[in-house]
Symmetry: C3
Subunit: 396 residues, 3 copies
């Protein structure tokens, strides 16, 4: 791993425009900007491991708006904010007036008078999560421009219908760490494949995030799913363009075996077909329980046709030297552990369990980096100041 | 706006007794005390805008007790506490034992061992909210006197059945800011009027807070509502006395037009008739769903007779030069936006939308000022220290 | 009370191993370790009362995992963490994915990347709470050993099925304070007795915690309950051994009168019979509402046979000079106050009310001491540094 000084040096080489810009989709960011995010995350991790406080805020609020359940992202966001000195305040729509017809525009301002960052998770409704985040951003711009807000809170996408940038970036940091540098990912083959799960309705944002990001770094990306389980067209098209530009490759196949063949990395994970998510959105909105039940039954029956899409020991043998790195955003549906038949065989998961935990462990630092880059023009200078200040995180 | 030094100078001229006294009703406070609250709020705002930390507490808890839903007040309280260095801990009666017959006296002490302030919202039950806050205060006095509590937490009324002091004071700060000083409010006409809403059961505390406070500063206050929609008698009587003492005027009229005529400021807002709130209280207590449903239907039918009580462009033409300042505590029922027919016409609201946001933006500072004045004997001296200490809120 | 320097001096005399060890059961700790917990709690209290900041963490998370309702323990934990500089993040299983089959092992790591302490309350299911805490501890050990976690969060038992160490230790601190020192407890008689309550299903952890702890200090401990209301056998056996080792006594009697006779301290409190808790566990797990209802009815009927197990004025006359110290973990079922017939007569409770509040007031300091001892090798040195640093908790 790079030394702290090397990180600062690398940061200075980059030409970026992250300050005051929301982090909504990785593909809206340049390669330099993605690199800066990784470097700042690494720097914050280094400082913390050396017991040096990373509090850049003396006070200030961070609003979390989770429109879907979450444990790990909730804690990652809380950890990131705490690390920087911000206090999390949940916008819980259940106990707030937002559920009673209040407009997004107004609420966005009302929660932001002393707020530095807003983290939003909105992945339930296809066609809506990203749009909602843009709306919130527009409302904040409006409030800031008109003198309502003394500062413009940055927005961090904690998962939308299109992308899951904190997950994908944490995954990328894990890979860079595992292979000793981002540059070593060039030419590595990653299989992002659908896998069977006894549940249904899982969002598309993780596979979309992975193919949208990993194609940026010259990797050979295979997206595999049973016929009918396709993702949003635009993201697939984009992945192809990314691959062409970065000197990697991207293809869609309908065979888990083909994707696993000679793969360096495998990422088997269930998701619902795009069309199902489209049909599900109005049912969820209308709280149509019978409709949802019927759709669920239909989908589970369809899923059940593809129980062989499981990351078994047998399947793993197809990968490079039989030793591909297994990845997952967690929690995985582990056959014989968390379900009878699922995404991954118990012995495979167990062998890579600690690696998946480490993968998840990068997320707090990635989120903190996104916030720091959004709020400070010169990340390197601020990191240097933290190091020089040298306040202990724990009293010694 | 005054300079920071001018604010400190003004503070020194005042003769007040806010230290260790709860802020429950504006009319329990002297004019000097209200002025001090505004000045400290302004000072805190100035410090923050100059990136100077306003943390007067290194640690300590602030308890929030919301017995009714809230977004904006919840965030205002959280912002105020965070700004001063206190961490908010919610007393959520849903997930606490308070719902299981525990006495107020005991709970008040149990949550207060290391607590510096308690913010309470209790506006649902007429005749109860203010009484409850007094009970909590008595319990804290008892605990402090007997050595149970090392400090006596201050109480801030975040809305009760009688008054809404953080809202009314934020509104006053907005007016002082808009007109270039508190002294310029003398002789200005404000129309606090009922307006039609498709919902029912809105509390009386906002109109009561407005007539109870604005009559203190020589304003001409018109309270207007359809026959039957009267407020608590005592507050109306008090408003009259206030006006007489301050050299302003106060009158109750049953015409929106009369109130709007030549008004400098209009505050059209729905509320439920006092008598309805009285009838509603036992129904809520007994969770009598049929009774509540019947009462709601009766009231909505009655409301519907007064749909012409709407702040339209036509109505606005009646005001001073057709340009009265429109105010609202938000969220407003906006015709054609958040409802079909409501309190205010869409175009009127849109013209003043940013002003209503700014109005709301004063609340965090007002609450912070109430807390600071409660916990520090010499506000001016503490503010001076903050300025001299000069810790950056954001690292620079 | 000892001076701060005396406390530090006393701490240096102790030979303990609290660093990096969870605090799950008082009987897993040596007498020196219990003493250190009390001394550190006293030191933190002294510092705070002298307005000296006790923040040993500049940032960091504290996770609270309440698997049962709680007001006072929730606030005590929040106060303790805040006092030390940690921010509490609730793991609310209702709104997290933990309820959806996620393994304990995984979740324990996912919430711990930047976490210094985890407080757990799990007292509903007999045979499970303590086991769950051990599982979480094992998972954290695993994550720390494998480089997933940069630090191993300490676990504090905030009440399990076996013990309630933060309560029992706060009770002990109260007694040491009341009698002028731990050494003065030798030979004092304490009656831990069952008492009638109109509710049912109260956990066994308080009486078990009391007999498990008070027998360590040479006290004469009487455990009294109506036939059938026995506690977990192992804890009762342990209490006997403790008493023998410490030169005190322990006996089980089936008469409140016998226990009260000549008692210095009485602790009358309801609990459910061990066998009932055993039968209740599968019903709760299966959410068997009819079964729970039937069990409740049976138990309440059984309870009703023992309404004379009440701490009345008459009963108090049996105690040493009629003036035994009344203790309770709160909330008590007070006859004529919070229920018709309950654990304690109104006048008795009222006479000792303030004492029970003070008893509860030690809990935040006990919890803070447990955390500090878990995270710092040399408690005395850290406390000395806090004193020397002399940062004001409130700006002066």
């Amino acid at each position: 791993m790079k030394s702290f000084d090397q990180i600062l040096e690398s940061l200075k080489q980059l030409n970026t425009n992250l300050f005051a810009n929301d982090f909504l989709l990785t593909w809206e960011k340049t390669e330099d900007e993605l690199k800066q995010t990784l470097l700042v995350a690494e720097a914050l991790k280094t400082l913390r491991e050396n017991n040096i406080s990373t509090k850049v805020f003396d006070s200030g609020l961070a609003v979390s708006n989770f429109r879907d359940n979450s444990t790990r992202t909730r804690f990652s966001f809380a950890s990131a904010c705490n690390m920087l000195g911000l206090e999390v305040q949940d916008l819980d729509e259940g106990k707030s007036q937002i559920a009673h017809g209040e407009t997004v525009r107004e609420t966005a301002n009302m929660i932001s008078f002393l707020t530095d960052v807003i983290g939003i998770r909105d992945d339930m409704f296809l066609g809506e999560g990203h749009t909602y985040m843009k709306e919130v951003g527009d409302a904040l711009d409006d409030g800031f421009r008109n003198g309502v807000l003394p500062q413009r809170p940055g927005i961090v996408n904690l998962q939308c219908d299109i992308d899951h940038p904190t997950q994908a970036m944490a995954d990328l940091m894990h890979l860079a760490n595992y292979y000793g540098g981002l540059e070593n990912l060039k030419g590595k083959k990653i299989a992002m494949t659908w896998a069977y799960s006894p549940s249904y309705g899982k969002p598309l944002s993780v596979p979309q995030g992975i193919i949208g990001l990993m194609t940026r770094f010259g990797m050979e990306v295979d997206l595999a799913y049973p016929e009918g389980y396709n993702l949003i067209d635009d993201v697939v098209t984009l992945a192809g363009k990314n691959a062409a530009a970065s000197g990697g490759s991207f293809r869609v196949v309908n065979s888990m075996e083909v994707a696993f063949h000679n793969a360096d990395i495998v990422y088997p994970k269930s998701w619902a077909p795009f069309e199902v998510m489209l049909r599900r959105t109005p049912l969820l909105k209308n709280n149509d329980k019978n409709g949802l039940k019927a759709l669920e039954e239909e989908c589970l029956a369809n899923n059940a046709r593809f129980k062989d899409w499981e990351c078994t020991e047998e399947m793993m043998k197809l990968t490079k030297d039989g030793k591909a790195l297994y990845m997952h955003c967690l929690p995985a549906d582990i056959s014989g552990v968390s379900c009878d038949e699922g995404e991954v065989q118990g012995s495979v998961f167990e062998r890579y369990r600690i690696e998946t935990y480490k993968e998840a462990g990068f997320k707090p630092y990635i989120i903190a980096a996104m916030i720091l880059n959004n709020k400070f023009k010169n990340a390197a200078a601020i990191l240097k100041k933290l190091d020089e200040r040298g306040t202990g995180r724990i009293l010694v």
